[in-house]
Amino acid sequence: MPHDQCPSTVKGEKQRPSKEQLASAPRTLQRVNGRAAWRSLDEAVDAPEFRDFLEREFPAGMAELVTREAVDLSPAGAARDNESRRDFLKIMGASVALAGAATIPGCRRPDHKIYPYGAVAPEEVIPGKPLFYVTSMPTEDGGALGLLVETHEGRPTKIEGNPLHAHNLGKANQRALAEIQRLYDPDRRTFPVYRNPARGNVPATWDDFRAWATEHFATHAAHQGAGIAFVVRKNASPTRAALRDRLLGQSGRWRNAKWFAYSPAWGEAEFEGTRLAFGRPMRVVPMMTREKTSVILCIDRDLLDNDPMMLPASRQHGATRTLWGPDDPMSRLYVVESGLSATGGSADHRLALPPAMVTAFAVALANFVLPRLQEPGSQAVAGALAALPAAPADTIDRVFLEECAKDLLDAANRGRSAIFVGETQPAPVHALVAALNQALGNVGQSIGYVPVDPETASSGHAALGALASGLRDGSIKTVICVDANPAYDAPGELGLPELLEKTTLISLAVGRDETGALALWQLNQSHFLESWGDTRSADGVIAPIQPMIAPLYGDSMSEIEFLALMASTDFGARVDGYEIVRSVWRARGEWWGGAAGDFDTRWRRALHDGVVPNSAFKAETPAPNFDAIATALAQLPAPAAASPQALQARFETTHVGDGRMANVAWLQELPQYGTKVVWDNPVTMSLRTAEALGVLPVGYSKKDPNRMYTQDLYPHARVAEVTVNGRTFRAPCWVLPGMPDNTATLPLGYGRANAGLVGDGVGVNFYPARTGAGYATGVTIKPTGDTYPISSTQNHWTLDGKDSIIRAVDLPAWRKHAGELQRVVDRTYGTESTLNFAERLGELSHMPPNLSIYPNPFNRSNADADPNDRTPAKPDAPRYANNRPPAYAERPQWAMTIDMGSCTGCGVCTIACQSENNIPVVGKKEVAKHREMHWIRVDRYFTGDDINSPSGIHHQPVCCVHCENAPCEVVCPVNATVHGPEGINYMTYNRCIGTRYCANNCPYKVRRYNWFDYGVKKFNGDYYGKEVVEKVAPDRGGVTGSGRHNKINPNLIPPRLREKLDEIATMGMNPDVTVRSRGVMEKCTFCIQRINFAKHECTLANIRDQEGHVVVPDGFFDVACAQACPTNAITFGDWLDPKSRVHAMRANARSYALLGYLNTRPRVSHMVRVMNPNPEILKRTDKARFEHMEDPFHHGGGGDGHGGEGGRGDDGHGGTGEKPHAYIDSRKRNGDAGYAMSLRVLGGRA
């Protein structure tokens, strides 16, 4: 039992607060602290900090600096302590210099206090004008991302990737973008909480903690820390590593303490595998390029989405597949996987297998490939492979295996391929793939290896096991969890929650968590946007973390500050992240090339750029130890087939990551890949498996696979008892076409019990089922008879025969026809138009050209119906006939293209847009009613003949396409949505009365209506029916559920009776964008605030074209979605700028207008997805499509006069008595010429 050592409660050194004070303390403190950051001057003058500041004359911290007992970790630190006077001047000088170079008022100066602008505001702060600063963040897999943060008057409001950071080059993942919401999360820990044995949790202060720690750790000091355990997340930060060494090193104060680092959702199989292969842990980095990579194979690795290498891999993969002309190279992607991932969805050929069979596939592939390569030394491996038991016959698609192997072996692809293997697979498979890559000559070409620090490479599972055993045998008495939550995410077999409860537990974290609930001390951590620090990305880039804002909740400590405090001999010492980082960096001369130089200059440079130059690891080409690999292979278990009685289950992460982000509503409401489910983590499986297990969704019928969505307003899943590794969970089951049979996914990161209003009780926590392996076997699923409502943003699986929406062709067709233009002459009207490759695939190929019967006042003439005719009128032409220039002929004309060929469906654009445009979340119940507010969504469609094994999954991001002939504009009775001269469809919120006619008439359904006060009222957690919570999570049931859930949909309460948005939460809003009230329609604005900002800047800079108009150079700015897209699938710019990217993209033959036949003339065009299938596989499996590849525009490739034939066009393949096709409408196939070609790829037969 922990002793009550808190001085504030035991010794009475301070006045003991009354019960009433204690009861009201959290609220008061939160408000006081929460407001500190933007307190007005009037309020501030009474604040103690301000008085303090006045008294000192100098910025706070200066006094300490002069006579400090600073924590300085560098060897030179002690010597420099004598130079404190010089430091004083330096820092005073630096704070001025930094203001010019990199810092901002919101950014902490060395004095760490933020205070209101006085009479003289800092020079660079112009109210209303955002400032951008770089920083970086540690990611949950132990790596890091470089970030660029937009701040408004010291408030960070939007996160983007740091373009100078070599790892992510301006891109960021969903979680990084959503960190804004975590920073301003009202449920964060706001002050230390001490668990008094007698009175429960009482609010405390950091001083209380320091006093308590002085006393408590004195007992440990005698044993140099024996009995202390630090539990941390894996983090490659150099400063943290230095602190760890200081704590635990030879001379460390706590050299007998234990240090347990782990990443809950990420395994170490890759490092184990490389350790087997190379003798030391390494990390595989993709180095794919357009020129050097032609074949990629991913073995159960979601390289393009949930992966430490997501951003570089997406960037590189997108680059290998961007087609400009018919002769461009294109890579081919094979994916073998046990789930359905974004990578699988992007694949040209995908094979779904249960996880154990994926191992068997890797073995079989190596068995096929290695003997044919004769790589010196690899004979041992080949021999070991041959000795392994073969997989049961017919479990692995031989055609796929052989043709994929042949493709890899093809001389033309030698050294131009890349094989990646994922987390679910055991270490020997990783080693085997290392051997394969070596033998294929890929190493140093398409992939490389970089070193991994020992902590990242260590086994997190083993660490937690050691912690548990230490706790059990009593050798560990004090556990210090720093940003770690083992009570939630540890494997259940360890029984950690019970053990931790009995120990002296100190928990430092940003948000509430389950470990904190058990802790003696819950300490509030600074968010990374509030603190100093540094990071090292997976590929080695070192980047600083610099604060954008002073800690919102008064006193708080960052991880390094806390560890420094722990390392200090005096718990009352002042710790200073800024100094800690600087002292570490100063000592690392090798980072700076070893040359002598001015550290401060370099430091400022690093703060400005956000990176330490040239710090990325050089990719290595280590030689594998084939014998070791062969030995390891022998340990592989025999391939076990999965069956409905013994399923295999894979653990995977989704948008909320490992669960730390569970209280971020943006991520909870971001539709999950494939299922599009939000606010839940149902166990997904294939339809066949669900049927065999009796857990098909309620209402599902084979005849109508969408019936579960139409039977009831809320689709209902069946709740099942899922038994994994001896633990049983009650979880809803959902279907996901494309999943391998007899396989289930167990998404991690949900089921938080103590995350906050948003995250509590959402989904089921599957962490207890983990045992350290990437997947589980022998899983059983038994229906319980209960049902559970599921919300998803897309309630239809397929294209429903409307195939010209998604257009996809095979590469040979593109090669052959990309350059052709088809002239269509309409026989009746005598009009003609020209169709590009993409337009020939859709309705326009057999329609009369669009011709307005009215002279369109916005066009130059009624014959100007060609949406691609953008040539500006000649200067001598009578341009000003009506005393005004023709519409859309003057720069700028904004336009966008969305490339469905490179879109992976990851959803980063949605989050970027949500953050930029203050888009509210609406909650599960409202999503179930189709009221989600996302301005850009990613529609997904499964294609193929059988929903059980769809041939493909296609993604189509759709935002407002800004039609030139906008159907929404004409029907609005109050002129609330009108067209701008730059081609943007404006939405005037003030004018809107909410008739919703525009939304009805929008064929793209991109308009979003504020059914309630979503934006300005508090998002009050989520609605769960009480009975549902009780059934699914009995421990959280009862009258009040978890105590915080709403019993009714809070939106149904009149807004005046509801709480307003928390002040903290409003700080994350973009001040340039209106927060919409209820009753108002909204939609994508093309980030009009960014456009106007750019135009102002360019006006100020006097950038003009030859006609004197202000123009915005291409790339001067980007809209949020285009900026964020990891594959650069979205391009935005000025269409009339002949040098702009968007101009080139619109002119590309792959560009077509979605639903273009409606003559809406959208400014957003989509681009045909070109697939690169292996002809040999098609020849052996899909003969019809293969033959089709040769001559897609059959019968002479189309030609003049085709347009008039309309409904009679015959594609020559119709009605040949083939089996019926689930997704292809037979009525359509005669009506559309290019349709047939696209259809082959979409998986049907025309």
């Binding site: 759709v958 029907v971 009775p973 009365i993 909410g994 009805n1000 359904k1005 209506y1009 009753g1079």
Partner: protein, 532 residues
């Protein structure tokens, strides 16, 4: 109460309050109640039981002057309660947000606009009867036009509610009006919703004028009768309330006097009245066609498959007349059963005539349904075809087939004369048609929207309790107003009915076997004269 004036006694007798001799009922089934004679050359009576002018006056005025039947108060209270429920729901809706309805971003209109179009359609029968049948000299209209017009007004009131409350910011509804503002932003005159505002308000205004103008002579009669009673016995007669010693006749005289606008039955008044009535009928006639055409433009001018159809204007007008007549029957059949002597005024002939109109318009509607499908197929537009296929076999198949069976199949029974003269059958078919016409609008609106273009944005609509409550409330408002109308306003145009009586014919009473009408006529004249 020893002595009672013979006029009053007669009025009480005719109202069923006092006993008196009544003519024997007609037993010949082929002629129904005597109005269904089909023999050429024989003009069947429009009013039964050889009512004289005075009797007509007594019957019609009696509905407002005598104590209401026993069922009236409970019926009124239930209807009023329902109306209040709707009112509370509307209040909640305005306070909380449109999200309390089941609408969503896939189906942005559902019950709100369905109800709007439904109620607007209901009103069409009234205008058709009062205007078009007036111009066509269809004398039988006189017995039903007043109540049909009243129904029109009440239906327009119900209809106008829905566009008013369905917008997201109801307090900004004034922005639909072409009010010049300082920043010179006008409404969008290209929007059909704005046309709706003008069409419906014009329609409502003209219908109200028409209705009110027709009632002026009858108000004068009611005024005169109250005034006469007051003069005859100033201290006698009912009071407004037991504790309020104000004679109700006094209030009647004032109120009806005010409403009668000084009508004195002079020839000049009648002359002006006839001319104005004709002019209003002329104005109303195109409105019958225009209003629902314009309402249909809400859909027809859009690009939504299933809405974007040129057939909509005539189809909607036919449907509106169809639904409107069903509603007239729905109101008048119970009323004539429950109100004394109303069967003499609203005869089986009226019911049969309306049933025939229902049959004809029902088939027009059916034809329109089939043409929609034909064009969807013939037009070769994939989305159009999909929309109609989805209508029949999609998730809302039940709504579609309800509509077809109610609107197309059920009126077919009216081919049989026995059926269309059987009030129970006619009533049941009217109920079905009313349901079917509501579903027609539901099918058009919801099934077209819920699966429009992109399969990724398919969705469903499910009504909430607020949807249901407000719809029920609109029925409450409608019935409340109609019951008040029956109670306090002249439910039949007395002067016009008298004009179609045989004894009003300047050519005498030949061939109609009218007996002692001179006595009644004298009474009638005496009554009106006595008013002065």
């Amino acid at each position: 109460m020893t002595s009672i004036h013979p006029d009053q006694l007669n009025a009480q007798r005719l109202a069923g309050v006092a006993r008196g001799p009544t003519p024997p009922p007609v037993n010949d089934p082929s002629t129904g109640d005597g109005t269904l004679i089909d023999t050429p050359g024989v003009r069947p009576p429009l009013i039964l039981n050889q009512r004289g002018f005075g009797e007509i006056t007594d019957i019609v005025c009696g509905y407002t002057e005598n104590k209401p039947p026993r069922w009236w108060l409970p019926a009124f209270l239930s209807a009023f309660g329902l109306a209040q429920l709707g009112g509370v729901m509307i209040l909640y809706l305005v306070i909380t947000g449109i999200g309390t309805w089941g609408l969503n971003n896939r189906v942005d209109w559902a019950w709100d606009i369905t109800n709007f179009v439904f109620w607007i359609g209901i009103g069409h029968a009234g205008t058709l009867i009062s205007a078009i049948l007036c111009l066509l000299k269809q004398k039988w209209r006189t017995s039903i036009n007043r109540s049909a017009e009243a129904m029109t007004i009440f239906a327009v009131i119900c209809a106008a509610t829905f566009p008013g409350i369905h917008i997201g910011r109801q307090w900004m509804a004034w922005m639909l009006a072409p009010v010049p503002t300082a920043n010179a932003i006008w409404p969008n005159f290209k929007s059909p919703l704005l046309w709706d505002v003008f069409a419906v308000s014009t329609y409502g205004t003209v219908s109200l004028l028409f209705w009110y103008m027709g009632m002026i002579p009858d108000f004068a009669t009611l005024r005169d009768r109250a005034d006469r009673r007051l003069r005859r016995s100033p201290d006698d007669g009912p009071t407004v309330a037991p504790f309020l010693p104000v004679r109700s006749d006094k209030i009647r005289a004032y109120v009806y006097g005010f409403l009668a606008m000084g009508w004195r039955f002079s020839s000049r008044h009648w002359h002006r009245y006839e001319a104005a009535y004709l002019v209003l009928a002329g104005i109303s006639t195109p409105l019958v066609l225009s209003v629902h055409s314009i309402v249909s433009f809400d859909f027809a001018t859009s690009i939504v498959p299933g809405w974007h159809t040129t057939i909509f204007p005539p189809y909607f007008v036919a449907g509106a007349i169809f639904g409107g007549f069903a509603m007239v029957l729905l109101l008048l059949i119970p009323a004539r059963q429950l109100y004394p002597n109303m069967k003499d005024l609203v005869t089986l002939r009226h019911i049969e005539n309306m049933a025939k109109i229902i049959l004809v318009t029902g088939m027009m509607v059916g034809f329109a349904y089939s043409m929609e499908f034909f064009i969807a197929w013939y037009g070769a537009n994939f989305n159009e075809r999909y929309a109609f296929q989805n209508r029949m076999f999609g998730p809302y198949w039940w709504a579609y087939w309800t509509m077809i069976s109610c609107n197309v199949i059920s009126p077919q029974v009216f081919w049989n004369k026995k059926m269309r003269t059987n009030v129970v059958v006619v009533f049941i078919v009217s109920v079905l048609v009313t349901i079917g016409m509501w579903f027609e609008r539901f099918v058009i609106i919801v099934t077209s929207l819920h699966r429009a273009f992109l399969p990724g944005q398919y969705g469903m609509f499910e009504p909430s309790l607020v949807d249901i409550g407000i719809f029920a409330g609109s029925f409450g408002v409608f019935l409340t107003l109609f019951l008040l109308f029956l109670r306090f306003l002249p439910a039949f145009p007395m002067a016009e009915i008298k004009a179609v009586l045989p004894q009003a014919s300047p050519h005498g009473l030949a061939g109609h076997g009218a007996g002692d009408d001179s006595q009644h006529a004298g009474t009638a004249h005496g009554t009106t004269k006595g008013g002065h």
